[in-house]
Symmetry: C3
Subunit: 473 residues, 3 copies
């Protein structure tokens, strides 16, 4: 019956069919064709990206091309774009043998999600009533990147446990739910949320956590051998962390108001993030033997200040207010990794691979509250001639939560259908399942695998080859 030297390659190890040779190409092709058709039917350039811009300028007495929104937002857009593809992608490369999937699936679902988001958000926000077309410009592509961020957050909770087809399905529904909850929060409740504490982080966080709860794997410990980092994978993850951290001021200011709005949002976020770093390091060191720092905290909790200023960064929260928010969130988020994540896994059956509860869900909730308080204490005298109308914040947070939880439950049920080629419990966190891997002198030596295999699954199986049986997990 063959030998057992290298786990995960022999047919008796896994009962699940992880072949995506039909489903993945089908989903990619059909949905991309659908995008083309829908874009053909609905999407056109807006007046600032259309060749009639020179006429538009004349009609509106605009004297300079520098008034085109492109020049107010494009640099920020590129920063956000880096956060989505390199930031989120590399942040998730920390697992020792899941870097291809982390970067690669992130790439795939973001590339699909931004197209679907342009349509969904376009129908809700950018529909030109005169001709029924969605008119797109630089702000739309920023918002599409934002929308996709919520799905990538959810991906973080499911990392290592889902097939690319599942992730595509999750993104399809995630983007759709996002567009609706965003419409309710921004347009119906008239809340402002330029950096998406509520719309992106709270929604995305609870969406992912609920899916992860529905997809709970009681025997995930069987993949324990791959559920950790190696030295270089942690360094790769720091690339993601730093690009997220550095460009977060652009994230929170990208669609803020021109002028002081964008300016202030960038400064506030810059400060909150700096404070998060210090308190994350403090708690990480305080919690460990000899004060040794833990890369998980450094890679994640340092970012919490940016999440928590998603709503309030464009407001007059003051520089020290931003520092206070960052201070608290660094502590909160690191405590989350130390205390809440193990608790949730053990008692709530939520396996949150990247700890998105600590980095996105909690700080996102807090960010909504901070935004509400900041807005409530603001008055026309502080905001100068641009009074900002704010109300129903609690409702906004509730909507984001509800969409995340209810939507996540429904999508989680769909993802449990035995159609999507997801890996077995003893086969998670492994690029081998969906990628052609190079023959690699650095790979985990067979002898180690062998030992793990024995320890975890079939302690006796390897002793005598005749003992092997199909192990249904």
């Amino acid at each position: 019956m063959g030998n057992c030297q290298v786990c995960c390659k022999n047919f008796w190890c896994h009962s699940k069919n992880t072949n995506v040779r039909i489903s993945l190409p089908a989903v990619c092709f059909l949905w991309q064709i659908a995008m083309i058709i829908l874009f053909g039917a609905f999407v056109r350039y807006n007046e600032e990206s259309d060749a009639h811009w020179p006429d538009y300028k004349k009609e509106h007495n605009i004297t300079s091309d520098s008034e085109n929104d492109f020049y107010f937002r494009y640099a920020s857009f590129q920063d956000v774009h880096v956060m989505i593809f390199v930031g989120f992608g590399f942040l998730m490369t920390f697992l020792k043998r899941y870097s291809f999937s982390a970067v690669g699936f992130n790439f795939l679902i973001a590339a699909f999600g931004i197209q679907w988001a342009l349509l969904m958000q376009g129908w809700f926000h950018s529909l030109d009533p005169t001709d029924g077309f969605i008119k797109i410009g630089v702000e739309n592509i920023i918002n599409a990147d934002f929308c996709v961020a919520s799905c990538l957050i959810a991906f973080g909770a499911c990392l290592g446990k889902t097939s690319p087809v599942q992730l595509m399905v999750m993104t399809l529904f995630g983007v759709t739910l996002f567009a609706v909850e965003e419409y309710i929060i921004l347009e119906l409740l008239h809340a402002r949320d330029a950096g998406g504490s509520m719309t992106i982080h709270t929604f995305g966080g609870y969406f992912g956590l609920t899916i992860s709860w529905i997809l709970y794997r009681p025997n995930l410990h069987q993949s324990k051998r791959l559920h950790g980092s190696v030295y270089h994978s942690d360094v790769f993850a720091m690339i993601g962390t730093l690009f997220l951290w550095m460009f977060w001021p652009s994230f929170n200011s990208a669609i803020a108001n021109h002028g002081d709005g964008q300016h202030r949002a960038a400064i506030n976020t810059y400060l909150a993030l700096a404070a998060s770093v210090l308190t994350s390091y403090a708690i990480s060191s305080l919690s460990a033997n000899k004060g040794k720092l833990d890369m998980v905290h450094i890679q994640n909790a340092t970012l919490a200040g940016g999440v928590a200023l998603g709503t309030a960064s464009e407001f007059m929260i003051t520089p020290y207010g931003s520092l206070i928010v960052g201070f608290c969130c660094g502590i909160l988020s690191t405590f989350g990794y130390l205390v809440l994540s193990p608790f949730m896994e053990k008692h709530l059956k939520i396996q949150d691979t990247c700890g998105i509860h600590n980095l996105h869900a909690m700080p996102g909730l807090l960010g909504g509250v901070v935004g509400a308080i900041t807005a409530a204490t603001a008055s026309t005298s502080i905001y100068g001639s641009e009074g900002i109308y704010l109300n129903l914040w609690a409702a906004g947070i509730a909507v984001a939560l509800a969409f995340g939880i209810v939507g996540g439950a429904i999508v989680g049920m769909i993802l449990r259908l035995p159609l999507w080629g997801d890996p077995a419990d003893d086969n998670c966190f492994d690029d081998e399942v969906y990628w052609e891997l190079p023959e690699d002198e650095e790979s985990i030596p067979p002898i180690l695998e062998y030992k793990n295999h024995m320890d975890i699954k079939n302690p006796d199986a390897c002793v005598s080859e005749s003992n092997f049986s199909v192990d249904q997990s």
Copy 2:
């Protein structure tokens, strides 16, 4: 006669002299001194980077510094700069033991090439007739980066098989040829090609392929042991892929017209790239056992949409038009890696290390055609008050092709001269040849090398030491 435990280190393995201790410093010093002299004789600041700008503003009734071209293009320039040095450099780190050379030679030839390009392009495009000086500003340094991109594309075909001196020579001629063909296409034929589908990708692609054909190595299989990736080298390569992918909208919009031109070019490229990703993943999965994805496709074919929109991105190609182009190019490019590259290596004797035929040459050609069709279907009514005069597109594509193939043949012949210190056939893809390598616990174990050596070269040589003889390859 010594032992054979570690290949590539013993004197009998290689007949070629790879010592570049005289030639490389000589080329670097002399050419850099030449650059200084030529810049001294010819290059000055243009009116927007010169200290007389305040006077210029007054004379031309410019009221704001924000009208300085710097603010329209500098953010895009920096994105392009990242593509050239990190994008191209890291994309080529995928080989297991050629990362130093990939990043390092890319760095060297780009740093030389941008200087020579400023001169060559300056003489053709930016010569001030009043004083005979080349006047440079931000658009010139963007164009210099563009010009160098064509040489880095050609580098991709030769990766692992050339010495740094050869690459410098290739860049010297490549930049010269580029400047001439660009002048013919843009100035004489009046084609527009803001993102360089024809001038950069078609020319650079066929230039590199022809050189690679001239430098064909029949015994390259002797370096097979190093002609592949390892796990972490593929992750490094994804850094290159993603920075190219993310910043390609800046590449195609950097020198487009102010206002709607840049705005539209960025949006179109964003969309085409997203579509490329989905079809690349689809074909990659479809072509492999169990639907497993291949990193080569993900690293490269996902970028094809950006190449193919190089000409048309600033036109009114429409959002769905961009998606269609990206859709087709992702398929085309992945098929190229699956079918054409092996075919070309076997039957046409073109060893294309990075598959530039699939990523640059073919999509570049297609991009020229797409540009021609888009321009032909455009009319003044669509383009508003700025009608664009376009003709002789087929001639433009032909010029790019001719310069690539004829120029590549001539340059290839020059590079065959036995002067340049290139490696032997059994010594390719190896940083050891041109770099001081760290003693490394991660290196390929001698035993493995030993086995490969036996398999590939002298099956009997290692059995008995007395059998060794100088192996001239």
Copy 3:
């Protein structure tokens, strides 16, 4: 008494207490709280980031939000931000087992330093006399990043030999000293130094070198086994190098004058850096057997042109002048690595881990001189309507040097206090000391450690276990 298979883990190896579990959290918490209080007392938004900007626009007849300084400098700020966190951070990952600390401590001290810098620089430069508040905007956060750069340069000299608490203390004093010397040079001496050749690089360089001299470790050779790179750590370091190299034009232009000033600074820096690359490669190749390149030179000396144009880049130094500066600095810096660093370590007792003398101190000094010469040869006729008043350059350089050396001596003495948890001489360059490391199949095999341990420290100790004694180093 246990065995000696893995060095650095048994209690008898090191006499020093590297436990930072109290000190690191205490410093982070207390200083962050101090920042919040001081920001609360002193820091507010300036007129361009405050919600009264619309009123300000009206009062000053500003017609467009594009006149907000944010849009002149924010893209450059983000580039500088990347240099500080990814550039400096990853440049220092070259050591085989110090990547966590390189990136992680860089992150920590920069995040603290920028806050303290906003205060210190604010008191000197941005204090609003009408209400006593520091008013901050985008230029302040750029300057804060600049200020921190000087401390990160100093970190480079101490890399691997200091605890995070020491680095925090060093940053506290470094930022303070920087703010004072910057005030003297820019405000009292009226020198200009937009890219900080004097204020940042000369000061930071000599500050770090003096600290390193005070902290001299006679037995550092005991950590020799970790004092080098491995293949992938050198590739990681190239990420740092390239982001520094690519974005240096933004560094030198970020706070230059609007319009031609920023434009020219970017072009000059672009050119000087390109020339540095060629001469660095030339000298590196010339100095080695068979012309093999050395990664240390490529990672560092290629950047020297940017340092040396820190002062002069905004002046009318001319394009060929920039090339000449880059040409010389590439040579100078590479020679420094080849000749001066070994000399300084042997004879001056300065252990300069990253060679900051060659990359920052010397080119910084040269940059001050270049700036002085350029300014002196300038005249109103060249500078058009904006004559620049420059004097007392020699005094400026002297101030930077004096603050670096005297300040470094004082701070070095403080850092020698036995309070800070720094590692023992045989325990340097090791992430193990301050980080929870993943169990790692790539780690240096115990057998190698064992051998090193024997070679270096107690040749006999491991032969018989009964021989072990506490080894006080």
